[in-house]
Symmetry: C2
Subunit: 337 residues, 2 copies
């Protein structure tokens, strides 16, 4: 009845012909949906295996009116022209990939250089994706809000704010900043500075939480040093800042990578950490323990965050009106403070 030569089976129709059944039967056998005789189902499945046939996902999705993919977008609105290699992203991406794979969805990765204010809507309207996860608001909060108003399946990793209409999952950055402040104060540090780009909402909140948690007399003296968070940029800024004669005793960095730059620049200038000054990072990337001395840092639960992002997205896809989620940060004290 069915030949054993490995003839090319390109579609359900080919398999139906070979198996002597109709296409609907093959479809029901392979998807497991709908009523079908157990023997027939097994026979067709075996036949499909023998010919190495798999359903064409594209056609399947078209028919089902979905795309089977979730887009993960990295907007590079700030950091223009700078390549993001921060391990934070890789860790996040890894966990997202796993969480989406668990649900049978593909991960569509895209770095976007926001142009105008239509990039997000345009992307969504192509129907390439069933939902969107955005890593970081960058400087695109307005665009995100506009889209959120009519498009439900979108969640953003970033800073939560009452002013935002879009749904977020993210670390409580203010609380994180406060943890850093308290720790430095406990260590008796008084000449403080924050390194980061406060045009980015997450970093602004870290800075704000940091300042707010300081005793009143220190609040006005804390310096805000602007830097992008790439290794190159932050190292240059840090080197120039120390070269200018600045001699702080407590530094809080917007990210671990920036903290590593600070550590490097401080050491280059003959300062000892934590002898002369304390340095605190943010993220707790896996490499944070590899510096000398190992980095004290405010840890973000990236794995939990990724899981929450995906959970929330799928709840919203299902029509539920689920809201933003805030995750508590945790201070990890190592030897740089």
């Amino acid at each position: 009845m069915d030949d054993s030569k490995p003839e090319q089976v390109k579609s359900i129709a080919d398999l139906a012909r070979i198996g002597g059944v109709s296409v609907s039967t093959v479809s029901r056998a392979l998807t497991g949906k709908g009523a079908l005789n157990k023997d027939t189902r097994e026979r067709i499945q075996a036949l499909a295996d023998r010919h190495g046939f798999k359903l064409n996902v594209a056609a399947q999705n078209l028919r089902l009116g979905r795309s089977g993919a979730i887009a993960v977008l990295l907007p590079l609105g700030h950091e223009r022209g700078q390549h993001l290699s921060d391990p934070f992203f890789m860790v996040m991406l890894g966990f997202l990939a796993d969480a989406l794979a668990d649900r049978g969805y593909d991960l569509l990765l895209s770095r976007v250089l926001p142009q105008g204010d239509d990039w997000l809507d345009s992307f969504i309207r192509t129907g390439r994706t069933d939902g969107v996860i955005i890593i970081g608001q960058s400087n695109q909060s307005a665009v995100l809000d506009r889209t959120a108003a009519h498009y439900a399946p979108m969640v953003i990793w970033g800073e939560q704010s009452a002013r935002n209409a879009h749904i977020t999952v993210g670390t409580d950055n203010q609380a994180g900043g406060a943890l850093a402040a308290q720790h430095l104060v406990e260590r008796g540090r008084r000449r403080l500075a924050f390194f980061g780009n406060v045009a980015v909402p997450e970093f602004a909140a870290r800075y704000q939480g940091f300042v707010a948690a300081l005793p009143a007399e220190l609040r006005d003296t804390v310096e805000l040093v602007h830097t992008h968070i790439t290794p190159q940029a932050s190292l240059e800024v840090a080197a120039a800042w120390f070269a200018a004669g600045n001699r702080p005793d407590g530094l809080f960095a917007a990210s671990d990578v920036v903290a590593m730059s600070l550590l490097s620049a401080a050491t280059d200038n003959g300062l000892s950490v934590p002898g002369d000054l304390s340095i605190i990072g943010f993220d707790d990337i896996p490499m944070a323990r590899l510096t000398s001395p190992p980095l004290t840092t405010v840890a973000q639960d990236i794995e939990g965050g990724a899981r929450q992002l995906v959970d929330l997205l799928f709840r919203r896809l299902a029509g539920e009106d689920a809201g933003s989620i805030s995750i508590a940060p945790r201070l990890v004290i190592r030897e740089s403070s």
Copy 2:
């Protein structure tokens, strides 16, 4: 003629009805393919813009018999259960995303835990993707070879070998190992060790090139220390190794992350770098210059590699029988050696 209420336009057919033309005309107007009166084309395009209509990419791809996506797979055959956060991957992924976007293709990201020997063929047969880029052979060379025999649009970032049937783009790892060896020898180092996992082809080649380039009398004394390349694993191995009393004067690491672990462990043991020993990494990730002292390393041209991977893939997609590409490494001397 055409109303201005923002009525929901879900398909080319809706737009055709509103515009008073046929679906084929709309299709030709929006894709720019086929002959069409300039006025009509512009009128339809304006109409589409006004209604915020975009062609459905899924349907388009189905009709065109393609998927419009390229899969990037990270096989985790070795490093099981370990999460890869290495900046190398993020940098590579970023460049790949850009190169694919330039060609109008989506990037489908997938981490795979190889199960059995059918994971790759199964994935490909779903028709989810038009081509595959695999980052690292991991321990799956046999699977890759089997697939390469009947599936052309697949390129692998990794180690090139005459034994492999699959097409690769990658750094000449042996040459890279040789660069490290020559450099250490020039520095007068004699008690040498390599840290890495030689079950991974790239690392094996680095080790082999390293040993082969040493003067005969050193070749037998160089120690091979097995370690996974995650920060956690390599730091543990390095700490234990130093704790066991090993006192080398030249270390070559399979990656910069491993080198950072070595640096950290050496410092913890009161050894000075480069005073007591030299350390050389591999990759030249952006963070390599942030360590104290900054890391000497064998640089891989990741951007060039990504571009070559994509070029090669599209040449093969076009039917050309293009072959493997080897990229020369470059020694970057900083202060850890």
